[in-house]
């Protein structure tokens, strides 16, 4: 039985091979078996199937490509985000450097304008309690800093040195309740004492009733108490009223310096009561 089947198989194989060889040889001779109608029928039947297969194949390929694109877009997105973060950081650094340069430039300008020996200092800490208005600088006794030296910035008077360490110093700000600065009004030359009032700024007291102070007047140091050089901007008058006793006027003064934004200052190393500034 097996032998019969084997012979049958070989016979079928032989027939099919002969058929294909016949097709091939006729084709090579430029002739064809008279199968054209059958071919047409087969093509017309199988074409839609083939087209369907092609379409679905294309859909799968497109889906795969879409997925790959999406994958690459995701990777690209991550890379670009990292790059943006890096660039943003660099931009911030550059901006910070530009601002520092501007501030230092102004400070240098002020230093050159002042006829006083000064030393520049960086603010390294602020008084954390909030009760007293003070800050710390990176200059101390080693740099020639002494107690009661005046501290100024490009925008005006900052305060004075109250404590000195070899490499640090503590500055009491003008707005500290313990601070008092002998001052005068630039326009009318009326004199008084500017006291610190912590959060609410400054108040100029002991102004004579005859004083012609008005809002908007600039207040400068008088240099009389021999701590602050004369002619440094203290602030600007915002309001004038009679004092509680009624024998003096007092004025609200807005400080020229924004103490919360101070980063660099100049410490005046002149002896107390040094040369006065032009005003």
């Amino acid at each position: 039985m097996s032998l019969v089947r084997r012979r049958q198989r070989v016979l079928v194989l032989g027939l099919f091979l002969v058929f294909s060889f016949l097709l091939l040889s006729l084709e090579l001779k430029g002739e064809r078996l008279p199968l054209a109608p059958v071919d047409k029928m087969i093509v017309s039947v199988t074409s839609p199937v083939q087209e369907g297969i092609k379409t679905s194949q294309r859909a799968v390929v497109n889906l795969w490509r879409w997925y790959l694109d999406l994958l690459f877009v995701r990777q690209e997105n991550i890379r670009l985000k990292e790059e943006i973060a890096k660039l943003r950081w660099e931009m911030l650094k550059l901006k910070e450097e530009v601002q520092a340069q501007e501030r230092l430039g102004k400070l240098l300008e002020l230093k050159e304008q002042l006829p006083l020996p000064t030393v520049s200092a960086r603010v390294i800490a602020r008084d954390p309690t909030g009760w007293f208005k003070a800050l710390w600088t990176d200059r101390g006794a080693d740099d020639g800093i002494r107690k009661n030296q005046a501290v100024i910035s490009y925008h005006g008077l900052v305060g004075r040195v109250v404590e000195v360490f070899p490499r640090f110093s503590k500055i009491m700000l003008m707005v500290d309740p313990n601070s008092a600065v002998d001052s005068l009004v630039m326009r009318s030359r009326d004199s008084g004492i500017v006291y610190g009032r912590s959060r609410s700024g400054l108040v100029m007291q002991h102004l004579p009733l005859t004083a012609t102070v008005t809002a908007g007047d600039l207040v400068l140091t008088s240099g009389l108490e021999r701590v602050y050089p004369k002619g440094i901007l203290v602030g600007q008058v915002t309001q004038v009223r009679k004092g509680t006793a009624g024998i003096f006027l007092e004025a609200e003064v807005s400080p020229g310096v924004d103490f919360d934004k101070l980063e660099e200052v100049l410490i005046v190393r002149a002896e107390q009561g040094g040369p006065e500034l032009s005003n």
């Binding site: 198989r9 079928v12 091979l17 294909s20 091939l24 006729l26 084709e27 090579l28 093509v43």
Partner: protein, 146 residues
Amino acid sequence: MGVKPDLIVVLVVFVAFHYTYLPGAVLALLLGYLVDLYSSGPMGLNVMGKVLVHYLAFLAARTVFLNSVLLQGGVVFIAILGEGLMLFCLRKFVGLASGPFIPFFSFSLLKGAYTAILASGLFLGILFLLRSFGTKAVTLTAKTLT
């Protein structure tokens, strides 16, 4: 390189392993004829190739169990490589332009490898389709049931 998997060979190998000789051979002949109809080559070339591949696969089915992905891929890979060589020799024999052997062989190798990777999944797909249409139509041999 434009390499595409040869699904027709996968089908021919599948029928050689799952069906008795005659229906498989007829299908191989028809598929070869269909390929020749759609291809730009001379008629009969693919008929001969597919019929021979089917016969050799049928002989291999006596001793090989297609019970692993590796074996399925391996058989398909050898079938495609064998068919490629046969077609190359046949073209040479009848005097048809077939180009240099190395690029032709490299192409067949790539095509075989690509199809071999997909072979297992394609076999499963064909089985699934046939079972969807009724398993009675499939003459599963004892070899493939393991």
